[in-house]
């Protein structure tokens, strides 16, 4: 079943083009990583999917038009926006009570179960919680909703590594199954590359790369070449090269390249690049500004 289907999705703010006609197709059961530099259009794309912003072009989420049917769509879609947005005045118990009151698919007992594993007390107000605890609370609320699509926009921004790890562990262990679909936009690529099933790079409102993780692994190789072999490696037209610890790292796209894996092994040690390296190769080539996005 198709969860998200977009054709020619376009959004402009004045003369600034945030989304320049993107096509998107997400099937049920996938975990899509949406990666791009700041201002690339990630949040705009997610906001369009969530019915938070009007757009041009065709967009269909779970069979609905998000812009005109946001409230019905939100029965089947959950999201955590890019910043902590839980109201600071609300008590933990009130948040549970309210969501239970308005959401037909919220399982309050499940949320309380998640919270019992944390140090969050039901009587606390959100403003008394640390940033990490607020995200834990939001996650507990969202994971207790039996939704078909979960959208996370930089959910762990500003959290320390322990909270980040817990966040993605509970996402995978307590929530994800083959019936659910997750779309995550993030800068913390290294921590997430093992959970993605699909990958999408977005830059200046356009999709510059879109593939499944299987395709990614078979298509891209990185070769560590000694400096004296560098000239030989360049004849295979690498998409990117960089110097590291006295070696030259060459990145090849096997689909576009005449070289095959066997030939490359003669040049040096061959391995699958990290998503971050590929990101720099694809987007860093076009814009030096993108460097900041690959922490």
């Amino acid at each position: 079943m198709t969860v998200i289907e977009a054709r020619g999705l376009r959004k402009t703010f004045g003369t600034n083009v945030a989304l320049d006609g993107i096509d998107l197709h997400v099937e049920q059961g996938r975990i899509l990583g949406l990666i791009g530099p700041n201002g690339a259009g990630k949040t705009t794309a997610l906001n369009a999917i969530l019915g938070l912003t009007p757009y041009q072009g065709e967009l269909n989420v779970l069979g609905r038009d998000p812009w005109s049917e946001r409230d019905q769509l939100m029965r089947d879609v959950c999201f955590i926006a890019d910043v902590a947005v839980l109201p600071r005045w609300i008590r933990v118990s009130q948040a549970l009570e309210y969501v239970a009151g308005v959401h037909p698919r919220f399982d309050r007992r499940k949320a309380e179960g998640f919270l019992a594993k944390t140090t969050i007390r039901p009587n606390s107000k959100v403003k008394e919680l640390s940033k990490g605890m607020v995200v834990q609370l939001h996650l507990a609320l969202v994971l207790a909703i039996d939704a078909k699509l979960l959208v996370l926009d930089e959910p762990t921004l500003g959290l320390d590594i322990i909270y980040r790890k817990q966040f993605y562990d509970s996402l995978l262990n307590d929530y994800y199954d083959r019936n659910r679909t997750i779309v995550v936009s993030t800068h913390q690529v290294e921590e997430l590359e093992h959970i993605f099933t699909d990958l999408m790079f977005i830059d200046r409102g356009r999709i510059v790369l879109s593939c499944s993780m299987e395709e990614f692994e078979s298509r891209y190789v990185e070769v560590a070449v000694k400096p004296d072999q560098a000239a030989a490696a360049r004849t295979f037209k690498p998409m990117h090269e960089r110097q590291i610890l006295g070696r030259c790292m060459f990145l090849f796209d096997l689909k576009l390249n005449s070289a095959n894996r066997q030939q490359l092994t003669t040049l040096g040690e061959v391995h699958t690049p990290s998503i971050a390296d590929l990101f720099v190769a694809v987007i860093g080539n076009q814009s030096a500004m993108a460097q900041g996005a690959t922490r």
């Binding site: 938070l52 926006a81 308005v102």
Partner: protein
Amino acid sequence: MSTQPNAVPEASFQSQGTSSGGVSPAQTLYWSIRRELWENPSIYMAPLIAAVVFLFGFFISTLSLRHHMHGALPLDAAQGHDLFATRYEFAGALIMGTALIVGIFYSLDALYGERRDRTIFFWKSLPVSDLITVLSKLAIPLVILPLLSFAITIATQFIMLMLSTVILAGSGVNIGALWRDASFLHVSLVLLYHLLTVHGLWYAPIYGWLLLVSAWAPRAPFLFAFLPPFVIYGVEKLAFNTSYFLNMIQNRLAGPANAMAPHAASPDFMATLIPHHFFDTPGLWTGLLVAAVFLFAAVRLRRNQGPI
């Protein structure tokens, strides 16, 4: 959603039941209003505090009244009636006035605050439509505040009566007359009528305007709500040397000509309660129409506006 034709009837019924809700719009509205009360305890705290402060003042003045009455001539019935009737009215006016101020500030912040603190992202992540959200916020000044101020006023007046009974017992004041003159039923019915018609219906376009500004204003909603009327008045005065707009605003604020304030309670007040007087006022219906337009615009704006 594609429905499977070969699904078991029971199962399809069940899945329909969950996808069509299980939460009715009325229930969503109820929780949205509760949410407003959680966020803004001033909605009930401010009139309560006004009542407590008033009761304290009343207590002091009744004590001093008793003190003065030693050696002085006792009040005759008419004097006693006037003395207490004014105070009951004053209690009602004070609590209503407080509720009015709370309502104005609440409405101006209602749709602006959620954009400023970005919580609009959280509220919009739940299956609550913009219409229900705006209706719940309009219900606070139009329904909740009038009913609350009614309840608090009645309680305050009852406590006043008890206090004066206890303090003035044996001081020469006719306690029986005190109870008779309080005429609770009259005053409270008129008060309730006044609150629901004037504060609820007649003022609806005013609160609608405040909510609209609150949904639109990029900053300083107070300024955007109160500046345009001044500008319109000024331009009209300069251009045509007329002040229709000012008159219109004044009429709206003063209430309909034939709406009764609580002090208008006459012996035949039951006759004046018959609502046709009020519902015949054309201003009421134009006002409600304007309120509906403002409301519609506020709903559309809430859908469009993101955080600021």
